[in-house]
Symmetry: C2
Subunit: 363 residues, 2 copies
Amino acid sequence: MELNVFSTEQWMTDHEGSAIFNLTDTCVRPLMLSELQAMDHDHLLDHITMDYGTIAGDPRLRKEISALYENADIDNITLANGCNEANKLVIETLLEKGDRVITFTPGYQLFTSYPESMGCCVTALKLYEEKGWLPDETELGKAFEQPVKLVILNQPNNPTGTVFPLALQDKLVVLCRKWNAWLLVDEVYRTPQLPSVSDSYAYGISTASLSKTMGLAGLRLGWIKGPEDLIHAINYRRDYSLISTGPLIDTLGLVAMQNREFLQKRADSIISRARQAVSEWLETENKCSLIMPKTGTVSFLRYDADIPSAELCEQLQEQYGVFFVPGSCFGCEHHVRLSFTKDPEYMKEGLQRFSQYLRESGK
Amino acid sequence: MELNVFSTEQWMTDHEGSAIFNLTDTCVRPLMLSELQAMDHDHLLDHITMDYGTIAGDPRLRKEISALYENADIDNITLANGCNEANKLVIETLLEKGDRVITFTPGYQLFTSYPESMGCCVTALKLYEEKGWLPDETELGKAFEQPVKLVILNQPNNPTGTVFPLALQDKLVVLCRKWNAWLLVDEVYRTPQLPSVSDSYAYGISTASLSKTMGLAGLRLGWIKGPEDLIHAINYRRDYSLISTGPLIDTLGLVAMQNREFLQKRADSIISRARQAVSEWLETENKCSLIMPKTGTVSFLRYDADIPSAELCEQLQEQYGVFFVPGSCFGCEHHVRLSFTKDPEYMKEGLQRFSQYLRESGK
């Protein structure tokens, strides 16, 4: 089945290993396994049998996850190996060749390339930087003049980090209702203060994982929250791939969720100090500008230099060891993805090197 | 994307929990996590950072896996969350709508239903019980008169447990060469004494996992061995789903592989004692017959009673607590899948209950 190379992921794979200053990694500093084990106050890890576990996922874990939503119980939740797989399972379950899909750009490539690979017709509505990375409402309305099967929203968006204001979310839900369109909201960057868009709509679906703010990408644990019938259909489909996430990952996921408040505080502290470092740097760097997102770990930095983003990123990494994913991976030039996941001193040093590059390259 | 319910997996999900005598489970008695941890003599688990790890999989683990084959190195290996996902990744990567696929029946449903879901044309060649669960060679030859894109073989077969004799394997490879057809061999039940069919053909692919004989289904760790170009293409596709299996699963998989000899001996002992119990029981039960496979954990038991297999399995479990997957899940009536994974006393008690059911039901 033809499928485009996933530019962002391949850029990460090809460049991450040689980075000295990784200013683009979307996960807060990962925990050590031993740190997570130390949070297992009930000694759940001492009693794990390495069979398939509960196929739909440990009910205790699904219970904890359902509490992240206003209107979910465990039958509204199923698990996957990360949020990408969760998204893929939803897309495969809902779409047939020829279906219309609406998503947004710059955005995460999976939302366009995967439905296209299935023969769907994808409209990627532009997010305008001058509107704070929001769509044009007239264009949005027009996109719903024809039948729509699925809308895919990334909230906060990757790479811009921005969130649709409540009024725009409401408008989007009204438009979805017109066609009973499914609304898949990838909320992998969601923090607790943000409501889930999926809660406001009967055909709303939320996907997320423990990878980003929880610092546990190594668990590869994601989930899907949605209407019970859809969750059943996805569970049938999971028999053809992962079958289950297994009792070890489920138990470690449960331990993480039991300690969510602590992990979230840790993330908030890392993110806010990194944001502060970026804000201070921006005051000194007039060749760059940023629409600072209100939450999450990613943002989309604009640079004022006459060089395509992929070339800039290659040069910058080669000469200064500073690693960004270029805007070209998100279909938007003269930007790089800048994240808020590292210690402030590290961020400052990396950003200063970027400034030095911009000065010396003279573009 | 339309996809049939996976009958075997759903039967397992629906019935396994209430089984008293599970005589159909394909995995030898699972290890406890603590047993696996105790095998970590190099203390690899003490130093795991919970990030994405090496995206294509820990090279040390891929090295250990490559040693299971005659002609593989680490670039011929990629990882997946279990063998089903490994198969699915291969199928998705190789096939386009309209492609012809050859597989065998009774067999594992994924090999027919998943390509069919993609719009492929699947020929499932019959395995004849009277030929020792082998295909008719004339029918096999005829199936290759038209172009073939992919052949999927399960070796040992699930559910029959049988293995193609070497001469038939060679013939199959010759037929594949005619069309440069890919040959995917699901070797999840392979034991070390069996050569890998994939080693004998340039377009050969092997999939497997640690679930069955290693007793580690809970790791959900499978792999694909194939030509390097194909592995690259699959790695691109993995960016859209699992991304990586993660450093924790990779490390535990490495520990298991480092202790493979011990784990294999453990499996051999469990399997041979269970086979012995089945053989002894068969001498006393004239309503049942079995082509005893030479290796692996599964077999396909024929019963002489006038009742469809699903109904028999429902009644048997309800009345006697004995759990089998019915032949109907594999498209072959009047059989049940019987596995060699439990202690002999447990096997004997379950089989005697089955005999009692057959006597009392009077069918």
